[in-house]
């Protein structure tokens, strides 16, 4: 329980808000613009998910999808400014969740969104947060922990799913060959001739997915692992053209992203202001006193 509420930097929440809310227009309009195409797909091809049936949501249509898209984009862009973080954050989370139901209700469910959905859901639980603020509190810590748990779940449970659906011998199969045959690139197609290498990569995938709880240990080991995971996702993109961008955004919860703004603010302060003006402030006392 102490771990769950260990204080986390408030500035990281501010940074994640900026990045996540700015990412939404990119996601909606550019990198997964196919979601919006579902607006005009006839209702006969709609396959509502459990949540959609439970809430009796009507099938997405040309008007509802476009209205929701506009509302999501406006809410996200206003939320970037940091105003009304709870209200706007909750609106973005709800609209994006519905957007995801539109995405996944036509016969294919992706699992790259889980941590990003959790990120959007927990951001509004923290009140106003300033960029570069390095002070730590429990509310920020809990929110960051939830995102971190979701990232670990994405990897660890992906390994479990491979055992469940593919069997304990998943790693000796030809799943990567299949992925390359279906959507290979110039970089990956030559690998088809080296089956031993693809099998070795499958074992490696299972191994690093199972090792993902290391991320929760903290410190250098975790940060190193995060960097490795970014590398893996980029290699996947090079090999089969799939990139889990929302997941990559959520993974920033492990990194000290607040320091970017803190360094920027510090530089502006020391460059742009005469030193004497801050002579009496407590944080400059050490340097000039």
């Amino acid at each position: 329980m102490t771990w769950l509420f260990a204080p986390g930097p408030r500035g990281r929440i501010a940074a994640l808000r900026t990045i996540a809310y700015l990412f939404i227009p990119i996601d909606v309009l550019l990198t997964t613009s196919w979601v919006g195409d579902h607006a005009d797909v006839p209702g006969t091809l709609y396959q509502p998910l459990f949540v959609g049936r439970l809430l009796r949501l009507p099938p997405p249509g040309p008007v509802s999808v476009r209205v929701a898209m506009a509302a999501l984009l406006v809410a996200a862009l206003v939320a970037v400014t940091g105003r009304y973080p709870r209200l706007l954050g909750a609106a973005v989370a709800a609209l994006y969740a519905w957007w995801m139901l539109v995405a996944m209700s036509y016969g294919k469910v992706d699992h790259d969104r889980f941590a990003f959905l959790v990120l959007l859901a927990v951001l509004p639980t923290v009140g106003a947060a300033r960029q570069g603020d390095t002070t730590e509190d429990e509310a920020s810590g809990w929110a960051l922990r939830c995102v971190q748990l979701a990232v670990v779940a994405t990897y660890l449970l992906a390994a479990v799913a491979k055992f469940r659906f593919g069997g304990l011998d998943w790693a000796t199969g030809a799943t990567l060959s299949r992925a390359i045959l279906r959507r290979g690139t110039m970089l990956s197609e030559p690998l088809l001739e080296y089956r031993w290498l693809l099998v070795a990569m499958q074992f490696a995938i299972i191994a690093f997915e199972l090792a993902s709880p290391i991320l929760l240990v903290g410190g250098r080991v975790s940060r190193g692992y995060v960097v490795f995971l970014y590398g893996f996702q980029l290699a996947t993109f090079a090999g089969i053209g799939i990139i889990f961008l929302p997941h990559l955004v959520a993974m920033l919860a492990f990194l000290p992203v607040e320091r970017v703004a803190a360094a920027f603010i510090e530089r502006r302060r020391t460059r742009g202001q005469p030193v004497g003006r801050f002579a009496g402030s407590p944080d400059s006392a050490g340097a000039h006193g």
């Binding site: 797909v41 006839p42 006969t44 995801m100 996944m104 699992h111 939830c146 779940a153 799913a161 001739e193």
Partner: protein, 141 residues
């Protein structure tokens, strides 16, 4: 500092998050999104088995021959067509795909025919050794 209630609510929410994610992967299905199993690339392809890829092919009205059509022009992804392939086995449902294309990409020429094809790549020791095609369903205007 969080209030005791704030802490309690957050502790329960975090517990639920983990419990639902684990339950989704152990016993859930895609239907339970966002708590569905994390199952992309989780099925095992047998090294001596086959890889199947769906294709939509069609001829436009007044056109001369059949061509492979982009799935995006139907407003769907390939994996979505494959995910619904059992429903798409009838000419009537292919007609729904045509209707979808006309709504999504009204700027494209109308289709005279549409064929849902499955391309099978036969594997031996994980390598492609042959290629076959089967027609799943056909539609004519």
């Amino acid at each position: 500092m969080l209030t005791p209630t704030g802490r309690a609510v957050r502790a329960v929410l975090a517990g639920l998050l983990v419990a639902l994610a684990v339950a989704g992967t152990l016993v859930g299905q895609d239907d339970h999104f966002p708590f569905a199993p994390f199952r992309m690339f989780s099925t095992r392809t047998a090294p001596e088995g086959e890889v199947r890829v769906a294709e939509l092919r069609g001829a436009v009205v007044g056109g001369s021959g059949e061509a492979v059509l982009s799935m995006a022009s139907f407003g769907l992804r390939r994996a979505e067509v494959e995910g619904q392939i059992d429903r798409l086995r009838t000419p009537r449902m292919l007609g729904e795909l045509v209707r979808s294309r006309e709504a999504v990409r009204g700027d494209l020429p109308l289709l005279a025919t549409l064929r849902l094809v499955q391309v099978h790549y036969d594997l031996r020791d994980g390598q492609e050794v042959g290629r076959r095609e089967t027609t799943v369903a056909e539609w004519h205007r």
